[in-house]
Amino acid sequence: MDIKAITFSYDKKVNTLHGVNSTIDSGKVTTIIGPNGCGKSTLLSVMANNNHPQSGQVLLEGKALADFKPKELAKKLAVVHQQNNAPSDMTVEKLTGYGRIPYKSLFTSATDDDEQAIEWALACTNLTDKRTVPIDELSGGQMQRVWIAMALAQKTPFLLLDEPTTYLDIYYQYELLELIKGLNRAHGMSIVMVLHDINQAIRYSDIIIAMKDGEIVAKGTPSEVITVQTVKEIYGVDVVVKNDEETGMYIIPIGI
């Protein structure tokens, strides 16, 4: 996926993104980090074709997102949003099945492919035994897994997630990150996500993109991007970067 000179503004006065250029490598886990208001979620929504840039374009397999038919794009790229709503009496299976919408028209019924994709999505997210449960009986972590299951049922090479760990307690945060990493490792899905926690970004990303004020400041492997200098520059926070043989790399904030 190629991001070419994206400029975006919500009110057409102040630019949220200033000519952002980047490339998202296929088969990698890429995490976008940065302080509040830096434009990281906006960039993700431009990549998801939910926001349309004032100039520049995002190319997927060499074709601009805007040139895809909606259903064609939904077969290439699935998105899990930070906040989602669905009727509370829907079952897990039914909502997961919505991921098959791109493969259907108003008049077609479910095919074997649909059923297999749903089974697979439920198995990946460990929801097979919850399939008949209405979603209002699920915990926050389970609910977030249902939204991921729906995205997986789309059978896309790309999966975008906007702050998927928000509102979850620490156990479910790591459960979710393990799930996402597993999808990448086992099925080769290209993952792009926005995270707040730098240590989570270090642990679960192949590539980190660091943003500030609507621009990309640094991009590379965690050890290339997360240094004392870049964290100070981006967040204004002093940190110590540690490299432990057992736990790997991590940072500790020590002040501002």
């Binding site: 939910n50 909606p70 939904a74 709503n85 009727p87 009496d89 991921g99 791109p102 108003l106």
Partner: protein, 330 residues
């Protein structure tokens, strides 16, 4: 398992009640007959009393059934489009817009009588467009939508009533549309409602999956490849068609489109595949019951069904507003 049973039980109950009330409605009133006399008379055509029932009471029953079905399904569709359980064609002015255009045609262009449903549709669509566009502020705020709907409703109701004062010839045609007693309905009225109503109900069922998808957030639906704007437009047009033709033929009924879908959701769930047919049946039952009660409790005088509906619907709206934050499970 319990959920399944509850759904089936709800359907069976409504269908049985519908049949019972229909029979009761056909038999009672200023002319009373026994079931045997009714069937015998309808088949042989030799009973004068049954002939009157056939000419006056049966059209009325059919119109009550279809208007009830059309209005409650219109309510279901509008609620799906606006993602707001308070959207009702009677409350947000769609029916008033349709009623106004009907009056204009009946009063000024009586030769176009056959096209009244078409003009009613244009009036309903105009009212809906006004409410939708004026209440859109990067999303539809439920309260804002209701307030603008009330304003649009008041506008068209006022215009209609204003017309009523402009000449005595208009008053009669106007009161027929505005007060919606179901008296004096002919088989030609049934034909109109049956034709457009059936088209509308079939279309409503065809788009049930779109109604379901609109319960998702717009961005989620878009990422699934759904053309959200197209779905909204199509569903809205079907809803306006149903509400307008019901208003043009049967008159203004508020609250059916509010009450029935709400009860439907608690009985059969939010899946529109089930909710739409259930609402059609239950809406038909409600209006027919209201009309039958209205013409029997103080016979030989009549209380219009719309007035009975308003008396039931008003308190129910308050009840809904009191617990509206729980609807849709948000």
């Amino acid at each position: 398992m319990f959920r399944k049973n509850k759904k089936a039980l709800s359907f069976i109950s409504v269908i049985i009640l519908l049949i019972l009330v229909s029979i009761q409605s056909a038999l009672t009133g200023s002319i009373k007959v026994t079931p045997f006399e009714l069937i015998h008379g309808l088949v042989t055509g030799t009973n004068d009393q049954v002939a009157i029932i056939k000419d006056l009471r049966l059209p009325r029953i059919l119109i009550a059934l279809f208007a009830g079905a059309a209005l409650s399904v219109a309510g279901v569709l509008l609620q799906a489009v606006m993602r707001n359980p308070l959207a009702d064609p009677g409350i947000i002015g769609v029916s008033a817009g349709a009623g106004f255009m009907s009056i204009v045609v009946v009063a000024f262009f009586p030769t176009l009588y056959f096209f009244v449903p078409l003009f009613a549709f244009l009036g309903g669509a105009l009212a809906f467009f006004l409410v939708y566009s004026l209440s859109w502020r990067s999303g539809l705020d439920p309260l804002r939508m209701i307030l603008i709907g009330i304003a649009v409703n008041a506008l068209f109701t006022g215009l209609s009533q204003g017309l009523g004062f402009s000449g005595s010839a208009l008053t009669q045609s106007m009161s027929q549309v505005m007060t919606s007693t179901l008296t004096m309905k002919k088989w030609s009225d049934v034909d109109v409602l049956l034709l457009y109503g059936t088209i509308g109900l079939v279309l409503a069922f065809v788009v049930y999956s779109w109604c379901n998808y609109l319960a998702l957030d717009d961005k989620t639906a878009k990422n699934l490849g759904i053309n959200v704007n197209l779905a909204r437009l199509v569903i809205s047009l079907v809803a306006v068609l149903l509400a307008s033709v019901a208003t043009a033929v049967a008159g203004l009924f508020a609250f059916v489109g509010l009450l029935i879908p709400h009860i439907g959701r608690s009985l059969v769930g939010t899946d529109h595949k089930v909710l739409i047919p259930f609402s059609a049946l239950a809406g038909a039952l409600l209006i027919l019951t209201a009309d039958t009660l209205g013409r029997t409790i103080i016979a030989p005088n009549e209380i219009p069904a719309s007035i009975i509906m308003a008396v039931i619907g008003g308190p129910f709206l308050i009840f809904l507003l009191r617990k509206s934050d729980r609807i849709y499970g948000h």
